[in-house]
Amino acid sequence: MNSQKLLNVNAVSLTLWDKIVLRDISLSVAKGQVVTLIGPNGAGKTLLVRVILGLIRPQQGRVVLQPGIRIGYMPQRLSIEDTLPLTVHRFITLGTPAGRKQVQDALEETGAARVMEQPIQSVSGGEFQRVLLARALLRNPDLLVLDEPVQAVDVNGQYELYDLISRIRDRRGCGVLMVSHDLHLVMNTTDLVVCLNHHVCCSGHPDSVSQHPAYLELLGNEGARRLAVYQHNHNHRHDLHGDVVGVPDPDSHG
C-alpha cells in the first residue's frame, strides 16, 4: 500500500446483528486531501467512521493508519447534560490539557473565541460545531475525522463551515475525512467523494460523482432536478434496506 497515505481502509466488511452493514469497503486519505463520505441515512457512514477510529473491529479487512499519526475527531450528535457545569474552555481541554493561550488560538482558528468562557450548553448549533472543531485542532492532528460537521447549522453557516475546514486543510496540510449528506454543499471543498450505501456505490472527483448513475439513483433526486441532463443507466437497484438487488456481481460497478 501507498506509504504516503495517512489512512488506508482495505476491504473492510462489518456485520452487526446478522446484517451486513459494511461490505468490502476500501478507501484512503492522503496528506492534504479532503475525502467526503456521502450517502443516505442508515448507509453505514458513521459505522465506517467508527471502524476507522478503532471503536469497532470489522470482521474482515483492515484499517491501516500511518504509524504515530494523531487523529482529531469530531463526533456526530453530542449533547451535554445541563447538570454538568462546564465552560467552553474547560470542555476543550478535556481532550488535551492545554494552556489558555493554546485554547484561545484554537478557538480563534475556528472563529469561536467569543464563546470561550460561556457555559457549553448555552452556545448555538453553529458555534458548538466550531468549538468541537477547535477541540480536535488542539491535538494538532495529522488527520481530521469529522462526522457530519455541519449538522444543526443553517445553510449559510454550512457553506462557511466547509470553507473553514478547507482553509484549515490548506494551512495545516492535514488530511480530512468527513461525512456529509449533501454533495452539492461540499462540491467545491472536497477532493474526493466516496458514495456509500453499505458498499461503495461510486467514488471519484465530486464533479464526476455528481453525475454518476449510482449516485443519482441513491441521492440524486434533489440534485437531478438541478442538472440539465442526466442519463439514467444505473446497473443495480437498492431495496428498502439499502441492499443491492438484481445485479449479478455487486462489485462490478462504481
Binding site: 471503536l55 463526533p75 453530542l78 447534560e81 454538568l84 481532550g95 490539557p97 491535538r139
Partner: protein, 263 residues
C-alpha cells in the same frame, strides 16, 4: 459531647465528604438508578458475608461489583432496556438478601438497621473503615477526574483521545461499590442513593465548574448530616431518615434562593 454522638458525626461527615464528588458523577452520568441497585444488592452481601464468615464490608463490595459486571454483560444482549434490568437486579438481590438472612437461625440480624442505617451505633472500627475507604475513593477519583469527566461528556470522543474507557468505567463502579459499603451503616441501604444525589443536585445551581459542584455537594452533605443528627436527638426521630430529610430541605432552600442561575 457524648462519645457515640461524636462517632456518629464523624462517620456521617466521612460519608458525606466522599458522597459529594461521587454523587456529582452519578448525577452527570444519569446513574441514580444504578447506584440504587448496587445499594439494594448490598444486603445480599451482608447475608453472604455472615453465612460464609467473611468481612461484611468486603462481602458487600464483592457482591456490588459482581452485580455491576453482570449488568454490563446483560446490557450487551440488548434484549431488555437498562432500567428494566436494573429493576430486576435491584429487587431480586434485595429479596435474596432478606431470604439469606432469614436462614441465619443462630444470628439475630437488625434488618431495620441495615435498611435505614444505624448511625448512632457507629463504632471506632466503623470509623476507620469509613475514613480509610473514603480516603481511598477520593484519591482514586482525583486521579481519574479528567478521564472520567471526558467520558461523561462523550465516551467515544474520549476513547479516540486516548482514555482507557473500559478500565475507567470498571474502577468507577468499584468506587460506587466501596461507597455503598461504607455508607450502609450511616443512612442504610434504602437511603444511600439520596445522600449521593440530593447534595449534588442542590449544589448544581451554585456551581460554575465541575469541581465547585463536587466540593459544594460535600459541604451540603456534611450540613445535612449535622442538621439531621441534631433533629434526631432533639425530637427523637430516626437518624438516617432525618439526615435525608435535612438534605432535601437544603435542596428546596437552595432551589428557592433568588440568585442568577448558571446554566
Amino acid at each position: 459531647m457524648d462519645d457515640f454522638l461524636l462517632r456518629a458525626l464523624l462517620g456521617g461527615i466521612g460519608v458525606a465528604l466522599v458522597a459529594g464528588p461521587l454523587g456529582s458523577f452519578i448525577v452527570w452520568r444519569r446513574m441514580a438508578y444504578f447506584g440504587d441497585t448496587l445499594a439494594h444488592a448490598s444486603l445480599l452481601g451482608v447475608g453472604l458475608g455472615i453465612l460464609l464468615g467473611l468481612n461484611e464490608g468486603l462481602a458487600v463490595i464483592g457482591v456490588c461489583l459482581s452485580l455491576a459486571l453482570l449488568l454490563v454483560a446483560l446490557e450487551r444482549q440488548r434484549r431488555l432496556a437498562s432500567d428494566t434490568l436494573l429493576g430486576i437486579l435491584a429487587h431480586t438481590s434485595l429479596s435474596l438478601g432478606i431470604v439469606a438472612l432469614a436462614f441465619l437461625e443462630t444470628v439475630r440480624v437488625d434488618l431495620v438497621g441495615y435498611l435505614f442505617g444505624d448511625i448512632l451505633a457507629v463504632t471506632a472500627q466503623d470509623l476507620y473503615w469509613i475514613w480509610g475507604g473514603g480516603l481511598l475513593v477520593l484519591v482514586t477519583l482525583a486521579g481519574l477526574w479528567r478521564s472520567l469527566l471526558a467520558m461523561t461528556v462523550h465516551e467515544e470522543l474520549a476513547r479516540v483521545e486516548g482514555v482507557p474507557v473500559l478500565l475507567v468505567r470498571l474502577i468507577f463502579m468499584l468506587l460506587i461499590a466501596v461507597v455503598v459499603a461504607v455508607a450502609m451503616k450511616v443512612v442504610g441501604i434504602l437511603l444511600i442513593t439520596s445522600l449521593l444525589i440530593i447534595p449534588a443536585a442542590a449544589a448544581r445551581r451554585f456551581a460554575r465548574t465541575p469541581e465547585m459542584m463536587a466540593g459544594l455537594a460535600s459541604v451540603l452533605g456534611c450540613g445535612a448530616v449535622a442538621i439531621g443528627l441534631w433533629v434526631s436527638l432533639r425530637w427523637d426521630t430516626p437518624a438516617g431518615p432525618s439526615i435525608v430529610v435535612a438534605a432535601a430541605a437544603l435542596f428546596v432552600l437552595g432551589a428557592a434562593m433568588p440568585i442568577r442561575q448558571f446554566r
